[in-house]
């Protein structure tokens, strides 16, 4: 007696071994397979032969894997190199910031204020991807560029105003050394630049970079 459940489980295992690992893709292919078997079996019974024909019609697992890989391709060597460089740069920035905070600020409260600013900048840098989801998508290209660049410029203007008009009130000592509140000016540039870059992205670009709102495509946990 042909055991369909076992045959499907073995076929899924074969797909997994071939490199088709996404459960959603496997579920969809299995659904297709069952559809085909349902159409083939007029008497209601499914034989090993009809199962083999359905699997054959679906295509070779290796070819299927290659087609899916074209969509969900992994980063190329150049992209991996760029990611590596970014990691080194971030590590260097954290190290430099830590040394600066320790050497430039003598008192611990100042160090704490400066370190909080540096931490906030890093949170903005790493978390902006999530915030982009909530930024409006401007469909008109010209308006998108205008809004994005205006947002980036606003960060620099606000930061400059902060340094020129607000910061001098906090300057202490004869050496006019900038107090720990200085790094907060950089945070303004970071926040507005990230928002500006988000606004500059079209819907297509957001999808390409995985920054679009997820659509209603989650499979329901049925059966």
């Amino acid at each position: 007696m042909f055991d369909l459940s076992r045959a499907i489980a073995l076929w899924r295992l074969e797909c997994l071994r071939a490199g088709i690992t996404s459960p959603e893709v496997l579920d969809e292919l299995e659904s297709h397979l069952r559809e085909e078997l349902e159409q083939q079996s007029t008497s209601g019974t499914i034989s090993q032969k009809s199962f083999d024909v359905a699997v054959q019609n679906l295509g070779k697992t290796g070819a299927l894997r290659n087609e899916f890989r074209k969509i969900n391709r992994r980063p190329t060597a150049v992209e991996r190199l760029m990611i590596g460089i970014c990691v080194i740069l971030v590590a260097f920035i954290i190290l430099l910031s830590g040394v600066t905070v320790l050497l430039c600020y003598a008192r611990w409260p100042e160090r704490l204020v400066a370190a909080t600013a540096v931490a906030s900048i890093l949170i903005v840098a790493f978390g902006w991807k999530r915030v982009v989801l909530f930024l409006p998508v401007i469909s008109h290209s010209g308006a998108r560029w205008a809004a994005g660049l205006a947002c980036i410029a606003s960060g620099f203007i606000l930061s400059s105003s902060f340094c020129n008009y607000i910061l001098p009130h906090f300057e202490s000592g004869p050496d006019h050394q900038l107090p720990a509140i200085g790094p907060w000016a950089v945070l303004m540039i970071a926040v507005f630049s990230c928002a500006g870059i988000g606004l500059l992205m079209s819907e297509r670009e957001r999808r390409m970079w995985g920054l679009a709102k997820p659509s209603n495509m989650e499979p329901k946990n049925e059966g």
């Binding site: 559809e35 070819a63 074209k70």
Partner: protein, 110 residues
Amino acid sequence: MLTKELVAASTEPLILSLLSQGESYGYALIQEVKRLSGNRIEWADGMLYPVLHRMEREGWIESRWGESETGRRRKYYSLKKDGKKALKDQRDQWVAVSTVFKQLWKEQYV
């Protein structure tokens, strides 16, 4: 039978056109194309799904898991706003090609 290249080139506009008539699922799309073309267009069954996934990533179509009449899980696809635009663009291109052929062959066979 159509050539592999022509089948590949016509896959996206065919899917968009079929989905413009209402939501559907992979197996039904394959059968419908087979029926409409009189078995002259035959997609390799499994190869349709990477195309559907790519089109979904492009934002042309969207999917949802539903149930078949027999209660089996089935993934339905439907056209999105961008898909309608893409369909219009692709239809214009195919109509342009078709018009040229019609005129050329009409002149030849008159």
